[in-house]
């Protein structure tokens, strides 16, 4: 017997009120990251360890900059959600858990923000 209300069924958000959002975002970002990271690996094979002018001119190419930006965005979303799962699995003290979840959000956004700024600066200003 189904005890859910018709509205609850239509919304499909369950008792946590967020439905499959977390699961879905981890999967969509992971699917996006497969081709993005394959590109990134090839790029780093070609340009890792190369001299400054060569690397900057490659990074300022609009196509490379776009891929770079997308990779950064997909990566920070994916890594934040992944670490969230790890924290929720292993940390049972409520205060520590909340503190780590907030730190996780700050760390991800900080790293992502810095990377995006760097990518855009190289693309627009060299």
């Amino acid at each position: 017997m189904d005890m859910r209300t018709p509205l609850g069924k239509v919304r499909g958000l369950g008792s946590a009120k967020s439905g499959t959002e977390h699961f879905w975002r981890v999967r969509t970002t992971s699917i996006a990251l497969v081709p993005l990271l394959l590109f990134y690996i090839v790029f780093l094979i070609l340009y890792g360890g190369r001299p400054y002018p060569e690397v900057v001119s490659a990074l300022s190419n609009p196509f490379v900059a776009t891929i770079n930006g997308l990779t950064v965005i997909a990566s920070i979303v994916h890594m934040r959600l992944g670490m969230e799962e790890v924290i929720q699995d292993y940390i049972h003290n409520e205060v520590t858990k909340m503190a780590l979840l907030i730190l996780n959000a700050f760390f991800s956004l900080l790293v992502g923000g810095l990377c995006l700024f760097a990518v855009l600066k190289i693309a627009f200003a060299g």
Binding site: L33, L37, G48, G49, Y52, V56, M79, V111
Partner: protein, 130 residues
């Protein structure tokens, strides 16, 4: 009634079960994920240095080119490839395929072997074209 919760039977925990490849690759997937989380700092350092000018870029390049830097980058390459292949296994399972015992065990072993082989291939290409 005070001891009711303490006396409840416990389900057997991890150490009771024989350690099998799918279990090993499951926890390695999580460990490599956590390593990659902090590994993004290396990507950030490289990108920020490239955006900050030649002097900073050369310093970071020198650090990555040192023996310790190269070992860390080798580990990073392996962690990334292992996690990427593990992620593909997860997508397969999410779609409802590949749960058969023998097959999933084979795939767990294949994941480890393929990640090592691909890491060697990537670094071999780097060393050849340098």
């Amino acid at each position: 009634m005070a001891n009711v919760t303490n006396n409840r039977p416990l389900s057997p925990h991890l150490q009771i079960y024989r350690f099998i490849p799918t279990m090993a690759m499951s926890i390695v997937h999580r460990i490599t994920g956590a390593a990659l989380y902090f590994g993004t700092l290396l990507v950030a350092a490289w990108l920020i240095a490239a955006a900050s000018g030649e002097e900073h870029f050369n310093q970071v390049n020198w650090l990555f080119g040192s023996i310790i830097g190269q070992i860390v980058l080798l580990g990073y390459t392996w962690a990334l490839l292992h996690h990427l292949l593990g992620g593909l296994r997860h997508i397969m399972w999410d779609l409802g395929y590949g749960f058969e015992k023998e097959f999933s065990t084979k795939l767990a072993k294949g994941n480890l072997i393929a990640s090592i082989v691909l890491t060697v291939v990537v670094w071999a290409i780097v060393l050849i074209i340098r």
